[in-house]
């Protein structure tokens, strides 16, 4: 157990936007909410999955919808707690702590807000080890842990408790509600036991976000090559370095789709990297040769500062490095690939691990 205060929050938010793999939203609003909460209620206890009891109950709280809306439609700060309290009342049991659904600028922060408000611990695990766009794209889902009952609420006070026959139905129904509620809503989902998190959570992700965030924060003052250190820490693969020359965007069903074109610089001069995104980066190709594919993480960082570049911050002329890291092993199982692999997102190709693709290249 250790305490999470303002400084830790800054680093976690920055690191989470790295693991967001282009998605998960801009960390600014979430971070500001979390900092305000710990300054008002005191620091939050972060507990590892080894420290929680098997039979205790835990739940995730998150924002649903386009993170870009969040910046314009500021939550009143109570809707996440409202969602948490409603699910507890509905089930008739107390939850011991909360955990983030994903690593991402916004949803890594929201459980911290609730944990601070209620004085309960945050568990150091999530259910993706990265960001994904749909509610059923979780390692708990892979473990057969039911998403239901789950709660959705808005800043006005409308609230629903839903039980669905599949996790995908929860995604479908709550996505429609989110749209009606103005594009952003608060959800409480995946009520589960400590045993479930020990078996199916992505362990240590909050701490890993913090470490990575700190490395990025200190990159400019670092002696050794900070990018090399980042690759080593995340077991990552350098894919490309260059300048963004084109970004094509479309919005469909509340998701951001698009393609990024990057012209090579330095050792990549004369090459071109193309990245397809659907909220998160999904496919990276260098000179039409596949370099990495979902569920592996494809991450863009600013060439100089190493600050992660999320899809809403893509800009012509920006110099970036492209790297990839291995998805959690649960995502590389048959069910994992069915749930978040390239075919689910409409690409006619099989998943190939980034390490194999890199070997092929050599």
């Amino acid at each position: 157990m250790r305490l999470i205060g303002r400084e830790e929050i800054e680093n976690i938010a920055l690191g989470a936007s790295f693991f967001g793999a282009g998605g998960g939203g801009n960390p600014y609003v979430g971070k500001m909410m979390a900092i305000a909460a710990v300054e008002k209620f005191g620091p939050v206890k972060l507990v590892s999955t080894d420290e929680i009891e098997e039979e205790d109950l835990f739940i995730s709280v998150a924002g649903m919808g386009a993170p870009t809306v969040l910046a314009e439609k500021i939550p009143n700060g109570n809707e996440y707690r409202h969602a948490f309290e409603k699910i507890s009342q509905y089930i008739g049991k107390q939850f011991t702590g909360v955990f983030p659904i994903e690593a991402g600028g916004v949803n890594s922060m929201i459980p911290l807000v609730v944990a601070a408000q209620l004085g309960i611990p945050l568990v150091d695990c999530d259910t993706m080890g990265r960001a994904f766009p749909e509610l059923q794209m979780t390692t708990l889902h892979l473990g057969g842990i039911n998403i239901s009952p789950l709660v959705i609420t808005d800043e006005k006070g409308n609230i629903s408790v839903t039980e669905t026959v599949t996790d995908k139905w929860a995604e479908t129904i709550l996505r429609a509600e989110t749209t009606e509620m103005g594009g952003q809503a608060a959800v409480a989902l995946y009520p589960c036991t400590g045993a479930n998190l020990k078996q199916w959570g992505v362990h240590g992700i909050v701490s890993q976000c913090e470490v990575v965030g700190q490395m990025i924060e200190q990159a400019s003052g670092s002696k050794e090559d900070p990018y090399e250190a980042l690759l080593r820490e995340t077991d990552g693969f350098h894919l490309f370095q260059g300048k963004i020359v084109d970004v094509i965007r479309t919005t469909k069903n509340g998701f951001n789709f698009g393609t990024i074109q990057i012209d090579g610089l330095d050792q990549n001069k004369g090459s071109r990297c193309e990245i397809d995104f659907q909220n998160e980066n999904k496919i990276a190709k260098v000179d039409d040769r596949l370099s990495a594919v979902t569920p592996d993480l494809i991450i863009l960082v600013d060439t100089e500062t190493l600050v992660p570049v999320t899809t809403e911050n893509l800009k012509y002329g920006k110099r970036v490095r492209v790297l990839a890291t291995k998805a959690n092993p649960l995502w590389r199982t048959k069910k994992g690939i069915e749930t978040t692999g390239p075919r689910y997102f409409g690409y006619d190709m099989d998943f190939k691990p980034v390490e194999d693709l890199q070997k092929e290249e050599v």
Copy 2:
């Protein structure tokens, strides 16, 4: 108290399609479900609002969505009971009986199904005295009785309990869920007391549907002019008689919009009647002169059989009589007109009572 069996159901369904004012759906599917339920579980007790206790709790169960979908997506028969049981469990109290939300081919029947299945009474009142397309268009809403908590469920078993800050928000959120659930869903809504129904219900509507249904059923063997008798029974005004020569339809947001053109016959020869509908008939004009307008009821019946013609059964060449009846006085209040008057439905005109419009014409 009296018992409702197969014969009563036939008449109620037929009469309800009259008060549906063009909407409320084809009575066939609802009627078949209700008949199957009373044949299996025995007849249903119909109790008047005078016979219920002020402090007892009651709730409405209904189908939401396009009634046309119902014929293709047959309910499994348990989803309405499922909705009823969930709301009872959520509130932690027992409901004494059920009441129809509206008079219409489908929703006059569904509470009968649940009443039969659970052996509880049906209250002889509804919340519209006709059919309307949205959940907040009820006399309970006019009385400030909250629609929440309310339940929506589908035939697969997905289920939500929702509490909203306004009745209109319930309409918005559940409409989106209904669409995702395939265009038709079961809802339980307006939990209320006997006192609420005594004060704000449209009393005796089930019995009135039955009387009107019986009159229509026996129209062909009647000695006196059955149409005149129908007008007398319903305090109605004859507007027009003719042949449908055109029906223009559009579908928007799950609602059926359109215009009906009727060329006059007999005493209306040389005249034309135009009726605008949005699920229900909303405006009737004869030779461009306003004859009746929502919330008053505009009803088309087959010229010979007097069987009500709902908007989905409009056909070129069909001979019809057009009549209008006065909306329940609650609909003619300021809040009633704001909720269901012509301006709510996008028409730039004020409400005028049908009896005044008829006087003007003379």
